[in-house]
């Protein structure tokens, strides 16, 4: 299905069950990461809790932080974020927003992208899909990126480099 949507690599939420596939990168929760060891598959340690960023030590680094409400975590995030970290926003809740709220959200994304650039973090735009129907195709993602004044080509290139550097670490 990912190939049909022009997506080369999929991020897949890991919950102790392994999914076979070469184009899958596991998204491992911080708590799960400390209790289980994945050796034969590339993975990224993710967190959605801003307080967990503080406990991020070199031995258990958080690769990716999921930002649910940028406005709320704005100042805290600026203090806690580390260079090279991935900051992810997803579309899961945006579908239910009104047109006015979507407009506001897109404007926040524009600002958030600038913040990622200045703090040397990797901006990650995700569908947040929990089913096939919630997935977003490559062309649709490109169209949204363009609305946010983000050049799709450079975004995908930077993201590819970032994923490669993070996954090769383990």
């Amino acid at each position: 299905m990912a190939k049909n949507l022009a997506i080369e690599v999929l991020g897949f939420g890991y919950n102790n069950t392994k999914i076979e596939g070469e184009n899958i990168i596991y998204r491992v929760n911080v708590k799960l990461h400390s209790s289980s060891v994945i050796t034969d598959h590339p993975y990224l340690v993710i967190s959605e809790n801003i307080n967990e960023l503080q406990s991020s030590t070199p031995s258990s680094p958080i690769d990716l932080f999921v930002v649910r409400d940028f406005q709320r975590v704005d100042n805290t995030l600026k203090r806690k974020v580390k260079s090279g970290m991935g900051l992810e926003v997803n579309l899961a809740n945006v579908r239910k927003m009104t047109g006015w709220q979507v407009g506001k959200w897109l404007n926040q994304i524009r600002k958030f992208y600038k913040f990622c650039k200045t703090s040397n973090c990797q901006f990650i735009f995700s569908s947040g899909a929990s089913s096939v129907l919630e997935m977003v195709s490559g062309p649709s993602l490109d169209a949204i990126l363009k609305i946010c004044d983000i050049e799709p080509e450079s975004y995908w290139r930077e993201l590819g480099d970032w994923i490669e550097s993070k996954c090769h670490r383990r």
């Binding site: 949507l5 239910k96 490109d142």
Partner: protein, 106 residues
Amino acid sequence: MLKRRDKRRYLAVLHNGQMDGIEIVDLIKKRNSELFGHIATERSSLRLIQSQIKTIIIISCKIKGLDNILSTIAFTDPPLVTLHISGTLKRLRRACLSKELTNKGL
């Protein structure tokens, strides 16, 4: 003055099968109007082409409004997925057919 037809793009859109083609086009038009305005929606000239396959419909829009339509599809609820985009209906149908065969589980 030359009379030139605006170029169009054909899109295959995957849905959950609970709505018919007309309802889905109305849903996209409504959301597009909310996000980009009624004028932009009219200009993109969104049309339903066919909805023979249960969970896939084919729509078309003017190339100028394609980016707006693609982003609108990603922002709709219930969710819709753009499966394929093509400049000709023939090529799109061929692509849909091959995708249907590879994704029989959908």
